[in-house]
């Protein structure tokens, strides 16, 4: 995959995760720049099957609006109201595997969102320290 295609795909992933966990007047949503950095790290550090699961889940989200009655266009081309209907419909869809795809997106979105210092601050939580990424070597 070329760098430009990868960049566009990552931007799509970020927009999908942001739709899953949008900002509200009470808490911030997903920070796009932070999410993009996280996804780069995710690609480097998680097993292939987890990457595959995320990519498939994003594709399911993008092309399933006809199944949720939100419209015939891809999810990111929907109006905000229809996009919200699509999110809600997918999360409670009668087809188990569609719900599981949403669960995968919610899980990854949660990993980005829950570690964001701005989010943690808004909920009265201390920011995470840096992960040491070290081990006993001898």
């Amino acid at each position: 995959m070329s760098a430009s295609v990868r960049k566009r795909w990552r931007r799509t992933q970020v927009r999908v995760l942001s739709a899953i966990l949008p900002p509200t007047s009470f808490v911030p949503g997903i920070d796009h720049e932070r999410c993009s950095d996280f996804l780069a790290r995710y690609r480097r550090e998680v097993p292939f099957l987890m990457q595959l699961a995320l990519n498939l889940s994003v594709l399911v989200f993008l092309f399933s609006p006809p199944l949720t009655g939100a419209g015939l266009r891809p999810a990111l081309a929907l109006s905000p109201v229809r996009l919200e209907r699509h999110c809600a419909g997918l999360a409670r869809h009668r087809i188990y595997h569609l719900r599981q795809a949403t669960l995968m997106l919610k899980t990854v979105a949660g990993l980005v969102w829950g570690a964001d210092p701005a989010v943690r601050d808004s909920l009265g939580l201390a920011p995470y320290a840096e992960d040491p990424r070290d081990r006993r070597r001898s």
């Binding site: 550090e45 939580l125 990424r133």
Partner: protein, 518 residues
């Protein structure tokens, strides 16, 4: 190499060492056995697939924990009609590093059942298990959590249980000095949790043994029917590593091999090593569970206090469930809540007002564990080993009753709404609609399960058709090969298994040491 050395990932020449015993896996079972054998004067090599992380190395974020402490980034799933995540660690200290450190003594009724139904009455007597657990409690500073350590989510559960005349108690944990940072899942950041990476494993080193970390064992090596060692290859835990592959190792065991690779790992290892028994990999059991979140008018601050400080066995007999409080890190909360989009974001905005309580089912379902058959799928779609497991309708009915009970307890404690997280039930319920939980579907796909207590696949027993390890503690048909982890427990317990695993492992090691002495 010299004795008393820790060998982590390395490249270069292959090497071989020889000691009295090899223990495969450093979780609660493996480390308990290894420490006792060390005390008996035996030299022990402890092989662990994961890395050794001390308190300063513990990740802060959940992403870091999944990467650094969990098996395969937490992607191990039980597959059946639904996919159920399995909570299991891969690091020195095993799942004891990421669990809530709860220590519950083995119920006497369970031991009696093992005696009558599995021929273990001479080995696992109530008196012997009690003695072992008393010793372990002293060594690991096991204590009931005090008022100052409990979080508000714990106290609310204790209050609700007391108000409804149900049994309730603060949990006993091997974390006497717990500071309530609510980060058990990421490895204790303060070192208060006395997991094996901080206690028994260093003791093995001090006694002159060897610890091999980042060292997954590929096979047990046999000479005839006798297990004489293990072999494997070091694996760098950093997935971004692109250097030369790890060195191969072979550890010869003069006296025996103890397998403690977990309920999902030991059976596949034995199968890969050529052990063929009808019960191998069969009889996988668990305590599947799910939770109900209550939303309270005042702040609960669930991340302050012990992760699981309150518990009740009131419904163990009639409903087959155990009730507990549980802290979920903020990073994992979106995956647990219903809905997506603005609905999910609105729910998350109330996270500081949430208390989560869980019901763990003493399930009757049995599954199996096996290696992926096709080499291309090794490390495959559900992790390195394939776990097949599906809660029965009766198990789902028990969980449903447990969740309805939890929802009512939330309202007793003052919650204004509950979030049941069940497909087919509204996202939020008020007090008047709790009955909808009791009408929830019995299809296990409707429920958000998690498997955290695992048993079986190498069960102890006197019948080779139904068990893998005999009452003489050798794998049937083999010599000097033993199993000392959750996989050798023949049934579920109905309580947290860590303490039982430690006691059984310790008693096994004690008998091995005594037999030799005799």
């Amino acid at each position: 190499m010299t004795r008393g050395e820790h060998l982590s990932f390395r490249t270069g020449a292959d090497f071989e060492l020889e000691l009295d015993y090899v223990v495969v896996g450093s979780g609660p079972g493996g480390s308990a056995a290894a420490s006792l054998l060390s005390r008996a004067g035996r030299t022990v090599a402890l092989c662990e697939a994961g890395a050794w992380r001390d308190t300063p190395h513990m990740p802060a974020s959940v992403f870091g924990a999944l990467r650094d402490l969990f098996s395969d980034f937490g992607q191990l799933m039980a597959r059946g009609r639904s996919m159920i995540p399995i909570v299991q660690a891969s690091c020195v200290g095993g799942t004891g590093v990421i669990n809530s450190a709860i220590c519950v003594r083995t119920p006497e009724s369970v031991l009696e059942g093992w005696g009558t139904d599995h021929g273990l009455g001479d080995f696992l007597t109530p008196a012997a298990v009690e003695r072992a657990q008393t010793e372990i409690e002293a060594e690991l500073d096991v204590a009931a959590m005090g008022d100052g350590q409990l979080g508000r989510h714990d106290r609310l559960l204790l209050e609700a249980l007391a108000m409804t005349d149900r049994e309730a108690h603060p949990t006993s944990r091997n974390a006497r000095d717990c500071r309530g940072s609510g980060a058990c899942l990421q490895g204790c950041p303060t070192g208060a949790k006395r997991s094996a990476n901080l206690t028994w494993v260093p003791e093995v080193l001090t006694a002159g043994g060897c610890v091999l970390s980042c060292a997954p064992v590929a096979r047990v090596v046999f000479e005839g029917e006798r297990a004489v060692g293990v072999r494997g290859r070091f694996q760098n835990p950093d997935r971004t590593y692109r250097g030369p592959r790890g060195a191969a190792f072979r550890v010869r065991a003069r006296r025996g091999v103890l397998v403690a690779g977990s309920a999902t790992g030991s059976a596949p290892l034995l199968a890969r090593s050529g052990v063929r028994l009808p019960a191998l990999g069969k009889g996988f059991r668990a305590h599947p569970g799910s939770g109900v979140i209550g939303i309270y008018p005042e702040r609960v601050d669930p991340l302050i206090g012990t992760t699981q400080g309150a518990s009740s066995i009131h419904h163990s007999d009639d409903l087959g469930i155990k009730l507990e409080s549980l802290t979920l890190p903020l990073d994992l909360l979106p995956g647990r809540l219903s809905g997506a989009g603005a609905t999910l974001a609105r729910s998350l905005a109330e996270s500081s007002h949430m208390a989560m309580w869980v019901a763990a089912v003493n399930a009757e379902a049995q599954g199996s564990v096996r290696c992926a058959r096709l080499p291309t799928f090794r490390g495959g779609p559900y992790g390195k080993n394939i776990v097949s497991y599906q809660p029965t309708k009766k198990d789902v009915a028990r969980l449903r009753a447990g969740c309805a009970t939890l929802a009512r307890l939330h309202f007793e404690a003052g919650a204004t709404r509950v979030l049941p997280g069940i497909h087919g039930v509204p996202v939020e319920l008020d007090r008047d609609r709790v009955h909808l939980i009791e009408e929830a579907p019995l299809d296990n796909r409707a429920w958000t399960w998690i498997l955290s207590h695992l048993f079986g696949t190498c069960a102890l027993g006197d019948d080779p058709a139904r068990s893998v390890v005999g009452p003489d503690l050798h794998v049937h048909g083999r010599r000097a090969l033993h199993v000392v982890d959750a996989s050798c427990l023949p049934t579920t317990l109905g309580v947290n298994p860590q303490h039982t695993i430690q006691a059984v492992a310790r008693l096994t090691a004690e008998r091995l040491a005594n037999c030799e002495a005799a």
